[in-house]
Amino acid sequence: MLHIINKSPYDRPAFYSALKTGEGAILLIEDGVYAAAKGGVAEAKLKAATDKFKFYALTADLEARGIADRVVDGVTLVNYAGFVDLVAEYKTNQSWL
C-alpha cells in the first residue's frame, strides 16, 4: 500500500511509525520531505528500509525547503502528476497525519 507522510521525522513519529508496518511505498510530502534529506538521522533509517519500501518525495516540497539538491539516494522524485499516479497504482493509501 501507499503511505503518505507529511510530518518531519524530527518533529513527529509518523515516518518511523509507517516504516514499522512492514512494506510498500512511502511518499514524502510537505514537511515529510525532511526525511529524504541527506546527512540527518533519518537518512540511515530510510536507507535501512529500502529493501522493504519504495521511497518517493514530492519535488515542489523539496524545492520549497531548499533541500532538492541533497536528496538521499534511492528516493524517487515525483511531481503532483506522479503523486496522482502513485495513488492510482496502489489500491490502498493512508495519510499518516
Partner: protein, 120 residues
C-alpha cells in the same frame, strides 16, 4: 448499497485536539451506512481508549459513553497496536473497551486489505 471495508486509523490523543472526537462521528455514520468498519488505534491514539476519563474540569464530552455506543452500531473490530501500548506503559486492562491487540506488522497487513483508510 455497496459495502466496502473502511478502516479508521486513530493516532492522536483525545482532548488536546478535536480530531479524535470528529473521527468518531464519521465512524458512527459509516456504520449507519452499513459499511464494514474497523478502528485501529496506534501511537498516541491508544490514549483515546484509556479508562476513567473525567472531563468535567475541561468542559468537554468524554469519549467513554460514545465508545460504549459502538457495539450498538455493530462496530466491534477495534484493533490496538501492542507496541504503542507498551511504549506508553499501558495494558489492555487500562482500556475502556474490549479490543484485539496486534503487532505493527499485523496492523500493516490489515490496513493493506482495506478499501478506504481514513485518518484524522
Amino acid at each position: 448499497m455497496t459495502t466496502k471495508q473502511f478502516m479508521f486509523v486513530n493516532r492522536k490523543a483525545p482532548y488536546g485536539t478535536i480530531y479524535a472526537w470528529e473521527s468518531l462521528e464519521v465512524v458512527l455514520i459509516a456504520a449507519a451506512f452499513e459499511q464494514d468498519v474497523s478502528m485501529a488505534f496506534l501511537d498516541d491514539g491508544v490514549y483515546q481508549l484509556k479508562k476513567g476519563h473525567q472531563t468535567k474540569g475541561i468542559e468537554v464530552k468524554a469519549f467513554e459513553k460514545t465508545f460504549g455506543a459502538l457495539e450498538d452500531y455493530d462496530v466491534t473490530k477495534i484493533y490496538v497496536d501492542q507496541e504503542s501500548l507498551t511504549e506508553r506503559g499501558l495494558t489492555t486492562d487500562d482500556l475502556a473497551l474490549p479490543v484485539e491487540v496486534f503487532s505493527r506488522a499485523e496492523l500493516g497487513k490489515l490496513m493493506e486489505e482495506q478499501d478506504v483508510v481514513l485518518s484524522f
